[in-house]
């Protein structure tokens, strides 16, 4: 029997791959997965460009500048004070700005933006009417900083939005989509146990989702690391637990697909319009930090957050809502997280199996 079931599961996977993988209607899922890849490649290109610009600027100053020189500039200084300390700016932009002073009155203010660089750090001094009104300093990208940015993008965007909506699109259509296509009955008229059919469809969708999203994570990391030299990369991977972080991110991606996949497969089976439970899950996941401890456990993000290898530091200037989403006040151990998530997913799939057993085909009411 097991041999037959495994043959049938393989046949279902094969069928699903033919029907849904690379289908045009799934294009938006690929775009969703590849968007952050494009973003990190753009980051690399932009950073390379700005490295060149900073280097050029540092060559044009009257004397080599240091961070200490930059720290000596403060608000209220005049233009002449700045030039006395740092010299003429290698890059300067001037103009005039219209400012509303009343319901029907405006004023014309002159402004200047001066830029200096020591080759690594860039100083931007904004002047209005000849006085310094704002100072900005930006250093070039560092791997440490980039790993935090990657962690932030991964936790905040990739897990909660990209994988969420990607899995929604892939798993919700396993049964509900076939009902709308009026092709589900072909499966139900085959000598396959309905539970085996469900497992086959789930595994097919899981395979598709994990391939798409783990490839995306891998490409994102490649894009991020391509900015740095081989020494830095080797140091990160072998000394700074880089490999364990990479494996952690890939593992979290797979677990997210497992968890969200089971939820959306069930939503497609139990609800005629699965968007309503999907919207509820989105809100539930977002509200997870403020839920009571017991209810928190009925969430995919609760388990995944504890598995993230990099804790994002909470910036004092960060909006409170974002800080709430990022912080993890009650972390759980990796074993509890993995097995907890798997247990929740298996329980949901078991419920789905009961539902599929009693599923009826009535296309005319769809």
């Amino acid at each position: 029997m097991n041999k037959l079931w495994s043959k049938q599961i393989r046949a279902v996977i094969r069928l699903e791959m033919k029907k849904t993988f690379f289908a045009k209607r799934g294009l938006w899922i690929y775009l969703l997965a590849l968007a952050p890849v494009g973003l990190f490649f753009a980051h690399t290109l932009v950073e390379i460009h700005f490295r060149g610009v900073r280097h050029e600027m540092s060559q044009k100053t009257t004397r080599p500048l240091t961070e200490q020189d930059f720290s000596s500039i403060h608000d209220g200084m005049t233009r002449d004070d700045v030039v006395k300390l740092l010299g003429e700016p290698p890059v300067s932009r001037t103009g005039a700005r219209r400012v509303r002073t009343g319901p029907h009155s405006f004023d014309q203010n002159s402004f200047e933006s001066m830029r200096y660089s020591d080759g690594r750090t860039e100083l931007i001094v904004n002047l209005e009417k000849g006085a310094v009104v704002g100072i900005g300093m930006s250093t070039g990208a560092s791997l440490g900083q980039d790993t935090y940015i990657f962690a932030g993008v991964f936790q905040f965007f990739f897990l909660r939005l990209a994988i969420f909506f990607g899995c929604l699109g892939i798993f919700m259509n396993l049964f509900r989509g076939e009902m709308l296509d009026k092709s589900l009955h072909f499966y139900l008229l085959a000598p396959v146990r309905r539970e085996v059919l469900l497992v086959g469809k789930y595994l097919a969708a899981l395979l598709a989702a994990t391939v798409i999203f783990t490839t995306s994570v891998a490409l994102q990391l490649i894009a991020l690391l391509s900015l740095y030299g081989s020494n830095i990369i080797a140091n990160y991977l072998y000394q700074d637990h880089g490999w364990s972080q990479v494996i952690a991110y890939l593992g979290i991606t797979i677990l997210a697909c497992v968890g969200y996949g089971s939820i959306f497969l069930a939503a497609g089976l139990f609800f005629r319009n699965p968007i309503i439970p999907a919207a509820f899950v989105l809100i539930w996941e977002a509200a997870n930090p403020v839920l009571p401890s017991l209810l928190k456990q009925f969430s995919v993000i609760y388990y995944l957050r504890s598995l993230c290898p990099v804790d994002i530091p909470v910036d004092p200037g960060m909006p409170p809502l974002l800080a709430l989403l990022i912080s993890n006040a009650e972390p759980i151990s990796a074993y509890v997280a993995v097995f907890g998530l798997l247990a929740v997913s298996v329980a949901i799939l078991a419920g789905s199996m009961r539902r599929v057993r009693s599923l009826e085909i009535n296309y005319t009411t769809e």
């Binding site: 037959l4 043959k7 049938q8 393989r10 046949a11 279902v12 094969r14 069928l15 033919k18 029907k19 849904t20 289908a23 296509d181 009026k182 092709s183 009955h185 072909f186 499966y187 139900l188 008229l189 085959a190 000598p191 396959v192 146990r193 309905r194 009693s358 009826e360 085909i361 009535n362 296309y363």
Partner: protein
């Protein structure tokens, strides 16, 4: 194993809407046609048989198997439904091959069975084209092929001749006959009553979710007492024959045929009438043929279901 399809007091309600009610049937091998107006419950009955929907009451057994056991049932049952949709992204061949793989067969066996089924319906040239690009008739044929591919003992076909051209219709009908001759069950629904007449061994008439009549069509006709049997007699002296038969009390109506070479008689007792014909033939009237005119599906349909519709 029993060789019957059995419905035991089966009812199906969609909320307040009646699908079928108190259906008791025992369908033997051969070609059985389900006949009835739209909404009479034919598709519901077929969906119940195949487990696509569950009965609200009653039990169904197909060759001693329940529709709740798909893993056993669908090895011997093939269903070609009325739904005109096909899975997206597959060619005709892939459609049949991929679903055959669900049976657990190896690739070679699936390939052989798939091509055999495709040849049965004459779609070899179009087999590798995307099924979504098929015409209506081709879609019908490929779905028929898919239901036949695994060599089922029971074939359930919902309006299988829809969209087929006359040549293909004739070939398909011949296919059904050959399958029935092998002792299989072929259960089909159709609105084309003269074809049902030609191919069916038995008929199930449905209306409003109820089974109105079932069995051999002549047997059903003979049980409709309130409709006198119409018989056409071809003879050389219709007027003389008319005066002769009109004396009989069981003869309700006599009309000379338009071509004036026959007589249309309505009788409430066909057996006595046939005996009478024997005597009349001996009396010198040259009788060429005596044939019932209204013991076909069309007439039975009109008598049983046509009157039901009027009564409603």
């Amino acid at each position: 194993m029993s060789n019957q399809i059995v419905f035991d007091n089966v009812s199906k309600f969609y909320g307040d809407v009646l699908g079928v009610n108190r259906v008791n049937l025992s369908i033997p091998p051969g070609i059985t046609s389900l006949v009835g107006p739209n909404g009479s419950g034919k598709t519901t009955l077929m969906n119940l048989m195949t487990g696509l929907i569950r009965p609200s009451r009653g039990h169904i057994r197909i060759l001693d198997m329940s529709p709740d056991q798909p893993e056993e049932l669908f090895r011997v049952v093939g269903y070609c439904s009325q739904f005109d949709a096909l899975p997206k992204g597959l060619s005709g061949y892939e459609f049949i091959y991929s679903y055959l793989k669900l049976f657990g067969h190896d690739a070679e066996a699936c390939d052989e069975l798939a091509w055999r089924a495709i040849d049965l319906v004459g779609l070899r040239e179009a087999a590798h084209r995307k099924a979504a690009a098929y015409s209506k008739g081709m879609r019908q044929r490929i779905r028929l092929a898919q239901s036949l591919a695994h060599n089922p003992r029971v074939l359930i076909l919902d309006e299988p001749l829809n969209g087929l051209d006359p040549l293909v219709r004739a070939e398909t009908i011949a296919l059904f006959r050959s399958l029935a001759k092998q002792g299989r069950h072929v259960l089909l629904s159709s609105h084309v009553l003269h074809e049902v007449d030609i191919i069916s061994d038995q008929v199930i008439l449905m209306s409003g979710g109820y089974v109105i009549a079932e069995g051999n069509i002549q047997g059903v006709r003979s049980e409709i007492d309130d409709q006198p049997m119409q018989i056409l007699i071809r003879c050389n002296r219709p007027s003389d024959l008319a005066s002769r038969v009109f004396k009989e009390d069981h003869v309700v109506e006599v009309r000379v045929h338009n071509d004036r070479r026959g007589l249309l008689v309505k009788t409430s007792n066909p057996d006595r009438f046939y005996l009478l014909m024997n005597k009349v033939a001996l009396d010198g009237i040259n009788i060429e043929s005596v044939a019932p005119v209204d013991d076909d599906v069309n007439s039975v349909y009109e008598y049983l279901i046509g009157t039901e519709e009027v009564t409603r």
